[in-house]
């Protein structure tokens, strides 16, 4: 089945909205927007009685630790404790957003009206989706992390004192789908016995848009305070040869995945650092062979080469994509790019 067939079939299913459907839907909308918004249903008590007590104690301790015991509440403030057992997921929503807690885990959802939502994660994996209609400002707290969420999706996983965040769907899927214990990576530091600072300071200082960053591990405050210069993301680790051992990294450290390298390459392109992007993309092409990422990397390499007016090089990459044909949609895009390259050279496209 060709793409054109698919488009034809999908578009043939579209029918106009009938007047009756339009009116009845409006009636329900009108009724819904006239009613005050209901608060989300609570977790059934009988399922969480045991865990609730433990969670309450944990949250009080966590709140005291995070806020230094100076918490205050306003009249519109509401707080809800969430507990998810292993394999269970608990969903909560607010105007324009949704929280999913994957168990085993404990979290607290604090709402200041509809203006501000704070998710405090004691343990487990929490995925927050602000949604396209994000209304509320959203912040996330763990024992070692406090940050405003600006991306549409944001996940945080707290396990054994290690906090891992992810801000892209791809990495979030990875966090959720692999809920086995996290093996610390190159930029992760196990909690150790070093003296803890009296007051936690912001651990994450985003230096680039969150959407550009792959899943990464956040050190605990004690390490952040004592070794502030050693935090790397996948991009930083990439600057060193893969075989070279990372100084002071965990012996179980894993090299960055191709996906993380790709994310770094995209970040480099966004920053205009095309030399670095080319190095990373060439590495993906070398390591992934005829895979999807390599094909995608060839496309980006062709774009970079076109930007540098290296037309022969750009043509070589697009011809490889067209010849391999492993990704039909990219093949079409490569054909269009080929035309652009030829036109840039002042030659006819021929297609």
């Amino acid at each position: 089945m060709t793409q054109a067939d698919l488009a034809r079939v999908i578009n043939s299913t579209v029918e106009p909205l009938s007047d009756i459907g339009r009116s009845s839907t409006w009636r329900r909308i009108e009724q819904a927007i006239s009613e005050p918004e209901r608060s989300p249903a609570r977790v059934p008590r009988h399922r969480v009685v045991g865990g609730f007590c433990i969670a309450a104690v944990a949250f009080v301790a966590l709140l005291l630790a995070v806020r230094g015991g100076s918490s205050s509440s306003t009249s519109t403030r509401s707080s809800e404790s969430l507990v998810a057992t292993a394999g269970e997921r608990v969903d909560r929503s607010w105007a324009g957003g949704q929280l999913t807690l994957h168990g085993p885990g404990m979290a607290e959802l604090v709402r200041d009206g509809d203006e501000r939502v704070t998710v405090i994660v004691a343990e487990g994996t929490a995925v927050m989706r602000r949604g396209a209609d994000a209304v509320t400002s959203l912040s996330v707290r763990t024992a070692s992390l406090e940050t405003e969420v600006t991306s549409e999706v944001f996940a945080v996983r707290v396990y054994d004192g290690i906090t891992v965040i992810a801000t892209s769907e791809q990495h979030i899927d990875g966090l959720v789908e692999h809920l086995e214990p996290v093996v610390p990576a190159q930029d992760a530091v196990e909690p150790g016995g070093e003296p803890e600072p009296a007051e936690s300071e912001p651990v994450v200082e985003p230096t680039k848009p969150e959407a550009e960053r792959p899943a990464r591990r956040i050190r605990t405050p004690k390490h952040a305070a004592s070794e502030p210069a050693q935090e790397h993301d996948a991009e930083d680790t990439e600057t060193k040869p893969a075989a070279e051992p990372e100084p002071e990294s965990d012996p179980r450290a894993e090299p960055p995945t191709l996906d993380e390298i790709y994310a770094s390459a995209e970040s480099a392109i966004a920053r205009g650092d095309t030399d670095r992007a080319v190095r990373l993309l060439e590495r993906i092409v070398r390591d992934d062979g005829r895979g999807l990422l390599a094909t995608s990397a060839r496309y980006d390499l062709a774009l970079v080469a076109l930007g540098r007016e290296q037309y022969d090089r750009a043509l070589a990459f697009v011809d490889e994509i067209i010849a391999s044909g492993t990704v039909p949609s990219l093949k079409e895009a490569a054909r269009r790019l080929r035309c652009r390259i030829l036109e840039a050279q002042g030659e006819p496209c021929g297609e």
Binding site: V14, G21, R22, W26, D133
Partner: protein, 194 residues
């Protein structure tokens, strides 16, 4: 009782910024006008994304309820249609995800869906083809399905898809590619079994 909106508003209506301001201030009449002007487009998008299923009107309702809640935060730096489409994509995704958690669809509901197609698609051969395509699409992951439909049926570019679904263009491209590969596999499997 407020009069029920029926058809699209007549020409001399307030301009869009004024309508938005009034709707934001709680004027349901203004919101009704916004609904009337955009419901059909959103309904069409939802149909493409989730198929001609019975729940489309519920999804349409959900889109406009979310839109109403989001009105105060709508900064108008994006076109209203784009803003609504982002919400519709999110609602469709939630629906497909919910449906994915339910027991797998058998061929029967798909055929029922295909049987409820508009009159233009009345031919039995076409209905069968549509039923097959819908059955294939139902087996894709929601994110892949949405990216594929936006790419193929609406002919959107990857940056446009990325804007609607909230991901990077490269991710959108990979989702479309993955959906195409999955469709190829499913089609080949179907051919072998038949």
């Amino acid at each position: 009782v407020k009069p029920l909106p029926t058809k699209a508003p007549p020409e001399p209506t307030p301009d869009l910024p004024e309508l938005l301001d009034r709707a934001c201030a709680g004027d349901q009449r203004a919101f009704a006008l916004l609904y009337n002007a955009n419901a059909s487009k959103v309904y069409g998008l939802l149909t493409r994304l989730v198929g001609p299923v019975a729940e489309r009107e519920d999804l349409l309702q959900e889109v406009f309820i979310r839109f109403h809640r989001a009105l105060p935060s709508y900064r108008r730096d994006a076109a209203l249609a784009t803003f609504l489409h982002r919400i519709a994509v999110r609602v469709a995704y939630d629906h497909l995800r919910r449906r994915g958690r339910q027991p797998k669809l058998s061929a029967q509901p798909v055929n029922e869906v295909a049987g409820s197609l508009p009159s233009a698609a009345d031919g039995s051969a076409h209905r069968e083809e549509v039923g097959e395509v819908l059955a294939l699409l139902a087996q894709l992951k929601p994110k892949q399905r949405i990216a594929l439909v936006l790419r193929v049926a609406l002919d959107l570019s990857y940056p446009e898809i990325a804007d609607l679904v909230g991901c990077r263009p490269a991710t959108a491209r990979m989702r479309v590619a993955a959906a195409n590969r999955a469709l190829d596999k499913l089609t080949a499997r179907k051919r072998r079994s038949s």
